[in-house]
């Protein structure tokens, strides 16, 4: 019982410090910006640990963070092997292929107005669909290894990427395009010098949406058949044999992989679109 009380003490202390830092004079510094969310996360983890212990929750229902950390460090090789299979082979390959195809398709569509008018509404519609449901079909088509996972990812990221790129390419004003004409710029010149840079914020938006979709797609597809490695495989198998701490270790890997993946795209965006108003703070 005392752990439960302690949990709320920790919560009160954690939020008090967060408020003090945020309201304090140094709130605009980088240190404060990192410290507050980290402190928030640590508070939540501490509460989780204390509540699980205090309420004596069975580890097959919800393991404590310390137990998950133990399992995480103890199974590093297995986790790494699963990470390779699911994130690098399945998700990343599919992400690169899907986004590249969508980008090239967008360039092609952009040149033909008829196609643009036909494909854009359909693309917009498909981008809103629960495409995840095709996972079992693609697994039966492309086999059990990472190829079918990459295929699911390709289909999932294709439409959001396509729609965003096409919209981005249209995001120049008449004035700007006329200016390029007065320079007697060719199609490619005006594409590279004007329209692609103008489309970058949209393209990055598509790339960012796709990072999350790629991981979801690769993991779900593993539920429908896989070799004996991979994060989706491990999660569903360990649920079956009550290794719930291992499931949470995989979730931790997924969260880290997802955040790093997203973070890298954001960094690239900052580097390439530093001139755009959305990047000025």
């Amino acid at each position: 019982m005392s752990s439960v009380i302690l949990a709320f003490v920790v919560w009160a202390a954690g939020s008090f410090i967060c408020v003090r830092i945020a309201q304090g004079p140094g709130h605009d510094t980088t240190a404060a910006r990192v410290a507050v969310p980290v402190l928030f996360g640590v508070t939540i983890l501490a509460m989780w640990e204390l509540l699980v212990r205090g309420l004596e929750v069975s580890p097959v229902i919800l393991p404590a963070p310390s137990g998950i950390a133990d399992r995480f460090s103890g199974s590093a090789t297995v986790l790494w092997q699963d990470f390779l299979q699911t994130v690098l082979k399945g998700a990343l390959t599919g992400y690169i292929i899907g986004c590249s195809i969508a980008f090239l398709a967008a360039l092609a569509i952009d040149r033909v107005d008829f196609l643009k008018r036909g494909l854009l509404p359909i693309g917009n519609f498909v981008a809103a669909l629960p495409i995840i449901g095709i996972a079992p079909i693609l697994v039966s088509w492309f086999g059990f290894d990472w190829h079918s996972k990459a295929a699911v990812v390709v289909v999932m990221v294709f439409f959001p990427m396509l729609v965003n790129t096409v919209q981005g390419l249209a995001d120049t004003t008449q004035m700007q395009r006329d200016l390029m004409k007065t320079y007697s710029a060719s199609y490619w010149q005006s594409l590279v010098k004007l329209r692609l840079p103008a489309a970058l914020p949209f393209i990055f938006n598509g790339l960012k949406i796709s990072t999350t979709l790629a991981l979801i797609g690769a993991i779900v597809a593993e539920y429908f058949g896989s070799p004996t490695r991979g994060m989706g495989f491990r999660i569903s198998t360990e649920v079956g044999r009550l290794g719930i701490d291992m499931v949470w270790a995989e979730i931790t890997v997924a969260a880290i992989a997802g955040s790093v993946f997203y973070g890298l795209v954001v960094l690239a965006e900052r580097g390439l679109t530093f001139w755009h108003p959305s990047q000025r703070s």
């Binding site: 097959v60 539920y223 649920v239």
Partner: protein
């Protein structure tokens, strides 16, 4: 007969009015199908009601481990395979087998003849489909017994996590797949592959058979006389349901199709399944034969798989009990 029914109904209603029936929640290992016909029949024919029980049957699925559900108080009693039940016990979840409606097992490995597999010695170098979710223990025990590594290569076998269907065999993505006699084997035949194109290995005949669907409860619940009494009535009614299903396969199949909430099951397939299931339940009156238990444990321990052990030591005392069935079958 009719009079008797009315009498029974009147009795049921009479007791129902006096006090609420005892609630029992049963978590199944898999989706609604004739594999669980006995429970659905007992429900539908009022056998549970006669025992003054209000039974909720929860279907399972790929991500649902019955052991986890019972640990989280989501069920009073579960059906699972003995290897999985013992594995959970060794991992600190004290499950107890209170009844064993399945006398023999239906797990098989079916291979295409054209892959060149004739005996288990031909496995190395081939790709085998295996179910996980706690069903992989017999397979790994078998491979350990054969001395075949399971990490691919020319000497070993490549293991695929087979999902839920027989597509890997039809699409030739795997040379062999796991099938249950009562379900997937029929699907392979239905898909147009004839029996003489197949080579089938039965786990029981290979000496690595294990007890399949049994009823398991939490050890601590058995301290409570009221719970024990409830389980006695539950097992009695369930076994009545099983025997009724064996004798009336058509009606049982209909009941199962009616109970299936996905609306995906067909009567033909469930009838086939019921016929095969009846062969597995035929020899059992519900009580576990200790010899069968010992045989399963011996198989698991004779070939402890290095990477996928179900158990590594003799199960602790009390992994099964006759206290329920002795009372129920009196």
């Amino acid at each position: 007969m009719k009079k008797l029914m009315i009498g029974a109904m009147a009795l049921g209603m009479g007791t129902g009015a006096a006090h609420a029936a005892d609630e029992v929640t049963l978590q199944l290992k898999w989706v609604t199908q004739a594999q669980f016909a006995g429970y659905y029949v007992a429900q539908e024919k009022g056998f549970y009601e006669e025992e003054d029980l209000d039974v909720t049957i929860k279907p399972g699925g790929p991500d649902i481990a019955p052991e986890q559900v019972i640990a989280g108080d989501g069920a009073d009693v579960i059906t699972t395979w003995m290897a999985a039940g013992l594995a959970a016990r060794e991992r600190g979840l004290p499950l107890v087998n209170i009844a064993q409606p399945f006398k023999s097992g239906g797990l098989q490995l079916t291979c295409l003849k054209e892959s060149g597999i004739e005996t288990p010695d031909d496995f190395p170098g081939h790709t085998l489909g295996v179910w996980f979710y706690g069903n992989e223990y017999p397979f790994y025990a078998w491979m350990a017994k054969l001395g075949v590594p399971t990490d691919g290569g020319a000497e070993g076998v490549e293991v695929l996590k087979q999902a839920f269907n027989v597509d890997p065999l039809l699409n030739k993505q795997a040379d062999c797949i796991s099938v249950m006699t009562y379900n997937e084997y029929g699907q392979v035949l239905d898909a147009g592959i004839s029996e003489d194109e197949l080579v089938t290995f039965n786990y029981l005949e290979e000496g690595v058979g294990m007890m399949e669907d049994g009823l398991y409860v939490m050890e601590e619940d058995l301290q409570d006389p009221e719970f024990v009494d409830k389980m006695v009535r539950f097992v009695r009614a369930s076994m009545k349901g099983w025997k009724y299903a064996e004798e009336n396969p058509e009606e049982a199949a209909e009941i199962v199709v009616e109970a299936d909430e996905t609306g995906a099951q067909t009567y033909e397939h469930q009838l086939y399944m019921m016929g095969e299931i009846a062969k597995l339940t035929a020899g059992s009156d519900g009580s576990l034969d200790p010899a069968d238990f010992d045989q399963t444990v011996a198989t698991l321990l004779s070939a402890v798989s290095p990477e996928n052990p179900a158990i590594t030591e003799e199960p602790s005392e009390g992994a099964w009990t006759h206290m329920i069935t002795d009372e129920a079958l009196k």
